[in-house]
């Protein structure tokens, strides 16, 4: 099995789910095309193209489906974990603390030297928060540092 076939299968399933979902959209105005028509066509095309991707002949050199390399798995795990942390902590801990953790995690994965990484983790989120709040009026959550940030 190639990666393309797996993606094709996923698109086929997604297309079917979307067609079923679009069929449930009610028509309330009897003029023009119904609100569900365009989504049904698109979902059908998505599923159909997925089917083409699944069944078409692939060149012998096409990448076979295999377990990703350890490095890829680790990187994606760090990214997904960091994303979950960012979504949960952003409003509770605030941008500065969350941002510092993100800088440290990503920088560590990219083999950044601690001498550069620690000042970057401390200064970059703080600078961004101060600039966006004061220059662009974007109220980033202060979280645990409420009252301490200028």
């Amino acid at each position: 099995m190639t990666r393309d076939r797996l993606i094709g299968l996923a698109l086929c399933i997604a297309g079917c789910i979307l067609v079923v979902s679009a069929l449930q959209i009610r028509r309330v105005i009897p003029i023009g095309i119904a609100p569900g028509t365009f989504p049904i066509v698109l979902a059908g095309l998505l599923g159909g193209l997925g089917l083409v991707l699944m069944v078409r002949r692939t060149p012998p050199a096409a990448p076979r489906l295999s377990w990703p390399a350890a490095r890829t798995m680790a990187a994606l795990a760090v990214f997904i974990g960091m994303s979950a942390f960012a979504l949960m902590a952003f409003e509770r801990l605030g941008f500065v603390v969350t941002g510092a953790v993100i800088v440290l995690a990503v920088g560590w994965m990219l083999h950044a030297g601690w001498r550069m990484l620690i000042p970057a983790a401390l200064l970059a989120p703080l600078t961004i928060q101060v600039v966006f709040e004061n220059a662009f009026s974007v109220p980033l959550p202060a979280g645990v540092l409420a009252g301490l940030i200028p």
Partner: protein, 508 residues
């Protein structure tokens, strides 16, 4: 016309607009010179900053940053053999070979002058051609717009990547995303699955930031190393422009040819500067008197291709401003910014907001004039720029992505969408799916649906009415021919599987 230009000049020569032009150029220069970061990414990262600006400074920021990023991408191409942006990839080996011959000044200077020439040429075409086209397009009805949007989307599929099936999937995915939320006509929720945040639709900003910027961070995480190597960097000394003069005298026609080809290709939706550079380089070699010298450090190819990619950038604005159909990913983002500012791109913009539009055109001219001094500065600073530690830069880029996605609605949902689309963008590129059609589908999807709905109300079920008006007939036939070409291209047995994206991205 002259009156409009005068009032536009008054708008442009305001401190805030000039500051936006300069800061956009400086930002573009920085992003473009760093391998792995693209001009599209520079533009996407600037979108949150434009929220808080008036339309003209916002457009000035985007125009100058994209032009400068494309130009600055030539620096690592010539010095490190790593294209700073994909638009420089076509002639990277040529520029590097010239540098290895000890002619770094000639390589960098030629590319800089060619970029400025191409940009100015494209801007002049934009200024003269777009209003003429707009005066013609003002008579267009829903039928013409429907076919035009279909043609634009079809061209995107035809020219994006090696595999039209994958490009079509990316496009349909983008169009499907554009249907999420409350239907504009009936108010019925579509594909919201009970999520309140999806009622307003999928905001294109987190999607763009995700697929262009966040995916670059994920790619760096997966690779676990930086794009720049540890080789000693060559020193750029002496007068750069003096080294260009002999090239200018020898190949004056190349500057013009590259600019004309670049502008023409740029106008084609989905093509952009990357494709323009590849085609110009190939044509330059084909018609050269010394084709065997190509690949060994021959400046002729640099003249054509260097002018072409920047000219393509200006050309892409023609369909974007006249029809509201973006020519490439950068203009798709710019179009989003215009819509956000309450300006509807299309022929009426040329009458309703003519001074503003001409002011944007003047920003193009100024940005391309600024290329020379700022580009020279960038070349002088190249050693410093190329040594920026990417392991520290990447997490900071991610912070900007987070702030930009949060700032749209002050909601964590935007951050989630951005992170999810970063992952989707990474998976897509890793498997040979181009991401530019996704964005163009997201932007053009509502236009296709709206015009289809309007046209079907007028036609009352008569399909032939879609071909009754002369322009819609021509556009319809061309669109059907393009579909035929796509099917032919897809039916051909793929010779090789497209390689997963490594250091470069699929759009400029």
């Amino acid at each position: 016309m002259i009156e409009t230009l005068l009032s536009s000049s008054a708008l442009v020569f305001q401190p805030l607009v000039l500051l936006a032009l300069l800061s956009g150029a400086a930002f573009g220069l920085f992003v473009g010179a760093i391998p792995g970061l693209s001009a599209t990414m520079a533009t996407a990262l600037l979108v949150p900053v434009t929220f808080f600006m008036d339309p003209l400074p916002a457009m000035a920021l985007i125009v100058s940053s994209s032009a400068m990023a494309i130009c600055a991408g030539d620096i690592p191409a010539a010095i490190l053999r790593i294209p700073g942006t994909p638009a420089s990839a076509a002639y990277t080996d040529e520029a590097y070979a010239l540098t290895r011959k000890g002619q770094a000044n000639t390589a960098l200077g030629t590319l800089l002058v060619a970029a400025a020439f191409g940009g100015l040429f494209g801007s002049i075409v934009l200024m003269t051609f777009a209003p003429v086209l707009a005066s013609f397009a003002i008579r267009f009805s829903a039928f013409e717009y429907f076919w035009l949007a279909m043609l634009g989307l079809s061209c995107v599929v035809l020219v994006s990547g090696n595999d039209p099936i994958k490009a079509a999937i990316a496009l349909i995915l983008g169009m499907t995303l554009s249907t999420v939320g409350l239907d504009a006509m009936s108010g019925q929720p579509r594909f919201t699955f009970g999520v309140v945040e999806l009622m307003g639709g999928v905001s294109f900003i987190p999607v763009m930031i995700g697929v262009f910027a966040t995916s670059a961070v994920i790619r760096a995480l997966v690779k676990g190393r930086t794009a720049t190597g540890d080789d000693p960097l060559p020193q750029v000394r002496g007068r750069i422009l003096r080294a260009v003069w002999p090239v200018l005298r020898r190949y004056p026609f190349g500057f013009l040819r590259g600019s004309a080809i670049g502008t023409g290709i740029g106008i084609l939706p989905g093509a952009g500067g990357d494709l323009a550079a590849w085609i110009s380089y190939a044509l330059s070699r084909r018609f050269s008197r010394t084709p065997s010298a190509y690949g060994t450090g021959h400046p002729e190819g640099l003249v054509d291709a260097g002018a072409s990619n920047n000219a393509g950038l200006s050309g892409a604005w023609v369909p974007a401003l006249v029809f509201g159909i973006p020519g490439d990913a950068i203009t798709a983002i710019a179009l989003g910014v215009l819509l956000m500012k309450g300006l509807n791109p299309g022929p009426t913009l040329f009458t309703a907001d003519a001074p503003l539009l001409y002011a944007v055109f003047l920003c193009f001219l100024l940005a391309n004039i600024l290329l020379i001094p700022l580009g020279l500065l960038a070349i002088r600073l190249s050693r410093t720029l190329l040594k920026v530690p990417q392991p520290v830069l990447m997490p900071v880029i991610l912070l900007f992505c987070i702030v930009g996605s949060f700032a749209i609605n002050n909601s964590v949902f935007g951050i989630g969408a951005m992170l999810a689309f970063g992952l989707i963008g990474y998976v897509m590129e890793d498997n040979g799916f181009p991401v530019a059609p996704l964005i163009l589908g997201l932007i053009l999807g509502p236009l296709v649906e709206r015009t289809l709905s309007q046209a079907s109300i007028i036609a009352r079920g008569d399909v032939l009415m879609f071909f009754e008006r002369p322009v819609s007939l021509v556009l319809g036939i061309v669109a059907i021919v393009v579909w035929g070409l796509i099917i032919l291209k897809a039916a051909r047995k793929p010779r090789t599987q497209p390689a997963p994206v490594t250091t470069k991205e699929t759009s400029s």
